[in-house]
């Protein structure tokens, strides 16, 4: 079943690549809808009470090097699979593009599914890297502005991180003879490697994941890449790809290196808090709307990191650990939806006005009330307004991390304040005041655009008002992970 989930987008990509140019997007959309149906079936058959992997597919691949074709989902995997499935149709709807674009997007989707379901390092790494190439090409070929530079920076930076990760895992393999996540996780508490080598391996893997998550100070590729990427691509980059790093932290670092995480927890917490506060402040100083949202994305990923790193603190009551982990998972999902929606709106504004500079807008509320209204919902969700999805994850993260790491959390809440300042400033510049001279002819939301906006907003409200359906997916995984780490 999971294999089908990965193969379907690849088949779709092949089909799209040979289809006539004007049918490409429809075909790609059809393919994503089919995969979404498949993902929903997976969810329907998923047993939320069980802790282990479900729908496991295990086949020998290259036994000589410990490579195994091992796919399966637990709560976290399923959540990410669902998020990916939701994002792609919307990302494809965001712009009309050629078949090459659509095909690459589908390849990226397959890679994401693979990353979130593979449980053998080699297979996982294959998918992890497979997502990199399409995103590089998509930015380089269809991006705007300094796309060559941004794409190259994105590629080289993340690729270097991956090299570190690969080396780290090779070290583990030579010592322990396995690439299997579960086997290694069982060895984690007693130490995978002798202390010095273990630090090296930890460092390599940490670097790879930190770059991917855009953890301060490894984040500078992100604003450039997001700024240059076309709308649909940036939706996927911020919505799903940025979650690969967080996912890696939960899947790899947490179970495999508990000792190291605890030993440098204050340092890691400091990095997370810097991520939150400095990026929010940097967002404040941006004049480009897209770059601003990019920086705020770093802040939101910083919340995830805060929740994860707080687990490394010595004082560990189960309820707070579970709260922090649940919060991190909920935040991954919610940020995925909201960030993608916000980038979609930025894309709409850019398409209408031909510019993303805040100074080029003004008085939109009088011209495009629908656009402003729906966009405000996404912005308020982004700044963590209760009643919308953003609040739930942030509240749970802070609830957990406050008791685990009180001082750091007390600084991190400044991020909430600065995010509000940044977004309200943007709203004031965009929506209010007299109509900017060149904004007077902008069209309001079209029906086709409402088809993206309305479902996304409903999702935000649903996950904000009654979040049980999101939490039910991963509750038993959270309990399991918290126990493993304690």
């Amino acid at each position: 079943m999971i294999t089908a989930l990965i193969l379907l987008p690849l088949l779709g990509a092949l089909l799209v690549a040979v289809a006539p140019q004007n049918r490409a997007r429809a075909l790609a959309l059809g393919s994503t809808l089919l995969t979404a149906l498949l993902a929903l079936t997976l969810w329907g058959n998923f047993d939320t009470a069980a802790t282990g992997l479900q729908f496991v597919e295990r086949h020998p691949w290259i036994p000589a090097v410990g490579a195994e074709y091992l796919l399966g989902v637990d709560g976290l995997s399923l959540l990410m699979v669902l998020l990916t499935s939701v994002l792609f149709p919307f990302a494809l709807l965001a712009q009309r593009q050629s078949r090459g674009f659509c095909a690459l997007m589908l390849v990226m989707q397959a890679a994401l599914y693979g990353t979130f379901t593979a449980h053998n390092f080699l297979l996982w790494f294959l998918f992890f890297e497979m997502s990199l190439l399409p995103s590089f090409l998509l930015i380089k070929l269809w991006g705007c502005g300094e796309r060559d530079r941004a794409a190259m920076k994105f590629f080289v930076y993340t690729f270097l991180g991956s090299v570190g990760m690969l080396l780290g895992f090779l070290g583990i393999y030579f010592a322990r003879g396995s690439f299997d996540f579960a086997t290694l996780a069982a060895l984690g508490p007693t130490g995978l490697l002798p202390r010095n080598q273990s630090w090296l391996a930890f460092g390599g893997i940490f670097l790879g994941l930190a770059v991917k998550t855009a953890l301060f100070p490894f984040h500078t590729w992100l604003p450039d890449a997001y700024e240059s990427a076309p709308t649909g691509v940036v939706m996927v980059l911020s919505g799903a790809l940025s979650k690969m790093g967080v996912y890696g932290f939960v899947r790899l670092l947490l179970p495999l290196f508990p000792y190291e995480l605890r030993a440098i927890a204050p340092l890691l917490l400091a990095l997370a808090v810097c991520s939150i506060v400095f990026s929010a402040l940097a967002a404040w100083a941006q004049t480009d709307l897209k770059r601003m949202v990019g920086y705020l994305s770093i802040t939101h990923l910083g919340y995830c990191m805060l929740g994860l790193f707080a687990l490394g603190q010595p004082f560990q009551p189960a309820v707070e650990m579970q709260a922090a982990l649940s919060g991190v998972f909920a935040q991954m999902f919610n940020h995925g939806i909201t960030a993608a929606a916000l980038f979609y709106f930025v894309g709409l504004l850019e398409e209408r006005r031909g510019s993303r500079a805040l100074a080029d807008f003004g008085g939109l509320m009088q011209r495009t009330p629908l656009l402003c209204g729906w966009m405000s919902v996404a912005m308020f969700s982004f700044l963590g307004l209760p009643g919308l999805n953003g609040f739930v994850g942030e509240f749970m993260i802070f609830k957990g991390s406050f008791m685990l790491a009180t001082a750091w959390t007390s600084i991190a809440v400044l991020g909430l304040l600065f995010t509000a300042v940044v977004l309200l400033r943007a709203m004031q510049a965009l929506f209010s005041g007299p109509v900017g001279g060149s904004c007077s002819a902008l069209p309001d939301l079209r029906r086709s655009e409402l088809a993206v906006v309305v479902p996304a907003t409903l999702l935000m409200v649903a996950a904000g008002v009654a979040p049980q359906w999101v939490f039910a997916i991963f509750n038993s995984t959270v309990v399991h992970l918290a126990r493993v780490f304690a």
């Binding site: 940097a282 579970q322 509320m365 011209r367 307004l385 809440v413 304040l417 509000a420 005041g433």
Partner: protein
């Protein structure tokens, strides 16, 4: 067995919310048209066909909003009834919001005297203001949107009141903030309105960050955010025991939220600016209900504030008292030097909220809430009266340009005078007098210090003074306004009359002779003892109010456009008129520093962190270039050179063997010529 209304309390906010959503859905087509209207570009042909449709939509919107409010009022009264039977009756209905791991986040509704009284007040005052708005906003292009926002606000505010969980309260609290943001910035084409809305949201958010931390701390230490939960709630003895020594910090953090929302010093700066919103909004949100939410919050979690009290005094409560005293006095002083009719009322609200805080701080929770309720009625009355005046004088808000309106707007004058006397505390017939007297009475018995008591007495004098000033400027003397000033339509005066009747009628249940409301809130059965009316405090406050009014009459009688106070004390007046320069102080310190920090963060991002990355990249590039250069020059060069040499020689030679006879002949000719020339030259 609880009455059915307890489990269905959610219906009270749900109905206005439903109305709000319905109005938004309804108004879709009309709003684009309205947007075109406001820019004055409506094509004539289009207006010809649509006014009927438009007016239908507008009527429908107003009807929906008002019927939502009426339904909420009916339900609020239904909820009020069971609380009357037993003094101090309380019922809760808790449920699980969502579960995380093996635990659950629970929310709940509560019905107790505090909730019930607030529900009735909010729905009733809200209803009056909704009706008033149909007249006040009649000419506005975005009429339907206005009612959608108002209903949304009402829903959120009712949610704050019924919450039995600090988390649910916080959720609604933030939604109230959102509604306030939307309504302050309702006239979004005005940059000042947009700026004021942003300022309000962010200033209150600063306080909310504290509240958020307080919630986290409370949650962590007591394990629950439910107030009452069959003995396990955080306000019940078992929960309070878990909080223990951290209660002071938790209480102060929660108080931060109250300071932001209730416009207490030092976060009061947003409230006067919030007057940029339409006047009914100021009445509903920035006078009667939302700004009182901070007071309500402190009253709700009072057990945390008073935990471990010695003689009714705790460090947290002492902070509450002093913040309240500073706010009450400072705002009353500033109000004396304001010229905008709404800003005077705004500062008056800030000042009265300070008074309520003091009352809570000295332990008089019921007295504070009684003043809150009474204040809601007469302050809504005053604001709506101000709205009526502004409406009548063609949207001029400067009291120096009014004058003599008592003949031109008689209904507004009489009702406004009732409101003014209530606010100033004119004894016997006005609700504000009794509630204020009760507060003063409580402060007199505060064991920690008597200073707040005397400072509040000074506040009473100042309140009477600035209200007298306002009355004289607006209603007495010669008319200074140009143009035709008219009384407002009946749809606007009727709510004024209703609120005025309430402001007077409420005093029946407020007197010390039969302090029904006070005892209802504190869970006692009220006794009727007429003799208790006569107290020393009655005469003291009567004397204070009389002093304030007389002072006002003496100073301002016959004053022209120039303020007598400003003429005598220009420096002091300027200091007060400029709001003690606090806005400027914030602007030049906190705001500017954070803006610099932001620029610094962006700069380091680009020039430090990114430069390091690019530096590492360039190092790699340099290594690549060097290695390429070495390859090219040292290793490749020899091979390349010989290859090129050979190829060049080959090309040259092959050129000679072109097979073209003329070329050969030409070569022979040239050669022969050369030989001949050589021969001649040698010879």
């Amino acid at each position: 067995m609880n009455p059915w209304i307890v489990a269905n309390l959610w219906l009270i906010p749900a109905l206005p919310l439903l109305a709000s959503v319905a109005i938004l859905l309804l108004g879709k087509g009309e709003r684009t048209l309205a947007a075109a209207d406001s820019a004055g570009e409506t094509p004539a042909g289009r207006t010809g066909g649509t006014p009927v449709l438009r007016s239908h939509r507008r009527t429908a919107a107003a009807l929906l909003a008002i019927s939502g409010q009426i339904a909420a009022l009916v339900l609020a009264i239904t909820a009020f009834v069971p609380t009357l039977a037993t003094p101090g009756w309380r019922a809760v209905h808790n449920f699980t919001w969502f579960s995380f791991g093996e635990h659950a986040v629970r929310l709940g509704f509560i019905l107790d005297p505090l909730t019930a009284a607030m529900l009735v007040m909010i729905t009733f005052v809200g209803l009056c203001i909704f009706v008033f708005s149909t007249g006040y906003m009649a000419d506005d292009a975005n009429y339907t949107r206005f009612f959608a926002y108002l209903s949304f606000f009402s829903a959120a505010m009712l949610g704050v009141v019924i919450a039995n969980s600090l988390l649910l309260l916080f959720v609604c609290w933030e939604l109230v903030g959102l509604a306030s943001y939307l309504l302050i910035g309702f006239w979004i084409h005005k940059p000042s309105a947009a700026a004021a809305a942003k300022k309000a949201f962010i200033t209150t958010r600063i306080g909310d960050i504290g509240l958020f931390l307080g919630i986290l701390w409370l949650y962590g230490s007591s394990g629950t955010l439910l107030f009452y939960d069959d003995g396990n709630g955080c306000l019940e003895p078992a929960g309070l025991a878990l909080i223990g020594a951290s209660s002071t910090f938790i209480a102060l953090l929660i108080f931060c939220g109250a300071v932001g929302k209730s416009g207490q010093f030092p976060l009061h700066v947003w409230l006067p600016d919030a007057m940029e919103g339409p006047t009914p909004v100021s009445a509903l949100i920035h006078a009667a209900t939302m700004v009182a939410a901070g007071v309500f919050l402190v009253a709700r979690v009072f057990p945390i504030f008073s935990l471990g009290a010695i003689d009714g005094v705790t460090p947290a409560l002492t902070v509450v008292v002093w913040v309240g005293v500073i706010t009450a006095l400072m705002a009353a002083l500033i109000a004396i030097a304001q010229d905008d009719i709404k800003r005077i009322l705004a500062y008056s609200t800030v000042s009265q909220l300070g008074l309520m805080m003091v009352s809570l701080g000295v332990g008089g929770v019921a007295a504070g809430i009684v003043h809150l309720l009474a204040h809601a009625f007469f302050k809504a009355l005053l604001f709506l009266g101000a709205g009526s005046i502004i409406h009548g004088s063609h949207h001029d808000q400067d009291i120096r340009r009014m004058g003599g309106l008592r003949r031109l707007m008689p209904v507004t004058f009489v009702t406004y005078a009732i409101g003014m006397m209530s606010l100033s505390g004119v004894p016997l017939f006005f609700s504000g007098a009794w509630s204020k007297e009760e507060v003063l009475h409580n402060t007199a018995h505060w064991p920690a210090s008597h200073v707040p008591h005397y400072l509040l007495m000074l506040g009473v004098v100042l309140t009477a003074l600035y209200m007298t000033r306002q009355m004289i400027y607006v209603f007495f003397g010669a008319p200074r306004a140009g143009g035709h000033v008219h009384e407002s339509p009946r749809v606007m005066t009727f709510p004024l009359i209703a609120l005025a009747i309430c402001s007077i009628g409420l005093s029946v249940i407020l007197t010390p002779g039969w302090p029904w409301l006070h005892d209802y809130l504190s869970g006692r059965t009220a006794e009727f003892q007429l003799a208790r009316i006569v107290q020393p405090m009655l005469f003291i406050s009567a004397a204070l109010v009389a002093a304030g009014v007389l002072l006002g009459v003496v100073i301002y009688r016959g004053a022209g456009a120039a303020d007598p106070f400003a003429q005598r004390q220009p420096a002091l007046f300027g200091f007060l008129a400029n709001r003690m320069w606090l806005d400027e102080l914030y602007h030049h310190t906190v705001l500017r520093w954070s803006a610099w920090t932001a620029l610094f963060a962006a700069w380091t991002d680009r020039h430090v962190w990114d430069r390091i990355v690019r530096g590492a990249g360039s190092l790699g590039e340099l290594a690549g270039t060097l290695s390429m250069g070495f390859d090219n020059r040292a290793i490749n060069a020899g091979v390349d050179e010989s290859a090129t040499g050979t190829r060049g020689a080959g090309r040259l030679v092959s050129g000679w063997h072109s097979g073209r006879v003329q070329l050969y002949l030409r070569a022979v000719a040239v050669g022969t010529m050369a030989l001949l020339l050589l021969y001649v030259w040698l010879a």
